[in-house]
Symmetry: C5
Subunit: 82 residues, 5 copies
C-alpha cells in the first residue's frame, strides 16, 4: 500500500454515477505526484495515509459498487523504526 499525504479535497460536479456523493481527497507522494482517492476513514489535510489500490479499493469503501481504484486504508500515527 502506497504512502501519501493528504493535501486537500477535490471539487467535481461532473462525475460517473459510481462515485456520486463520495468525498474525494487529493493525495501527494514524496515526489509531489498527485492522485485522487476515496476516503472512508476521515483523513484530514496534512495527514500521512496509506492507500489500498485495485479491486480492494472498492471493498475498502464498504460498498463494492463505488468505482474507485484508490482508497485511504488508514491514517499513520507514527513509524516504529527497526
Amino acid at each position: 500500500m502506497e504512502v501519501r499525504q493528504v493535501v486537500g479535497s477535490v471539487v467535481c460536479t461532473q462525475r460517473i454515477p459510481g462515485l456520486a456523493h463520495v468525498d474525494l481527497r487529493l493525495v501527494q507522494d514524496g515526489q509531489g505526484r498527485q492522485a485522487v482517492a476515496t476516503d472512508p476513514v476521515g483523513a484530514r489535510p496534512g495527514d500521512w495515509v496509506f492507500l489500498v489500490s485495485g479491486s480492494a479499493a472498492r471493498h475498502a469503501m464498504g460498498n463494492a459498487d463505488i468505482l474507485t481504484d484508490l482508497t485511504v486504508g488508514g491514517v499513520i500515527d507514527q513509524w516504529e523504526p527497526a
Copy 2:
C-alpha cells in the same frame, strides 16, 4: 485515481470489438506522458480529469463488456487546498 489533462481525441478505425463505438480521449500527465482513456462523462480538451483504472474502469463505463483499463471518472472543477 490518476490526475491527467485531456489533450485531444484518438482516431482509430482498426480496434477490438470490445471498444467499438466508444469515444477515446488522449490524456496527458504532468510529465507529458500520454495515454488513451474511455470517457462516459464528456470531458473536453483542456479539462483536468481523474481516471479510474483496472477492472473498475470497465464498470465505470456502465457496461462491463467495454474492454478498457482507463476511464474518465470525473472532471475536476477545483482543488480545495489544505
Copy 3:
C-alpha cells in the same frame, strides 16, 4: 491504455500453454522501454497502438483462456488535438 509503437515480433518456442499459437508483438514506449503484447488486431511494425492491460487484456483476445496481461486494443490513425 498505454500508447506504444510496434517494433517487431518475438520468436518464442518455450512458452506456457495459455499462450500457445498466439502472435506476440514487441512494443516500445517513448522512452525506449520494451514489452511483449498479444495482438488480435493485426498491427504492423511502425504502427502506434494503444494497449489494454490487466484482466481486460484476456477478454480483448476474444478468449479469456489466453494468459496475457497486455493486448493491442487498436491501431492509432491520428490524434485530433485540442
Copy 4:
C-alpha cells in the same frame, strides 16, 4: 513480486475495518521508496522480502476479507546467482 527490505512497523489506530488487528510493515525498495505491507510470515526489520500484490495479496493473508494490496510472500535467505 517486488523485492524490498523491512524497515519497521506502522502505528495506525484509525483504519478501515478490513485491516483491523493486522500487523503492518513498512517496506522500502532500493531507491528508498516506502510502502506498507501486511505480513503473515513474521518478517523482522532488516529482512529482505518479496511481496505479493493485487488480489493475490488478499489470498496470501489466508483470509480474502483482509483488504490489502501488498503482502509479504517470503523472507529471502539468499540469492543463488547465475
Copy 5:
C-alpha cells in the same frame, strides 16, 4: 508483458503456504531492477523472458491456488525487427 533477464534463483525457507514447493527466479530489467517470479517454463540464468503479471500470473502456473503476481510466460529466442 514485461521483458526481463533471469539472473538466478531465490532461496527462501520462510514463505506463505500458497508458494510452497514453487521455484522462484530472480529476474532483472534493463535498468537493473530485480523482482521474483514463479517459473513453470524452466528458464535458466541468462535467458531473456517475458512475464505475465496480475491474476493471469496465477493461472499461468496451471494452478490458480499459487499466490504469485509474476510468472515466466516464455523464453525469448530472438526478436524479429521491423
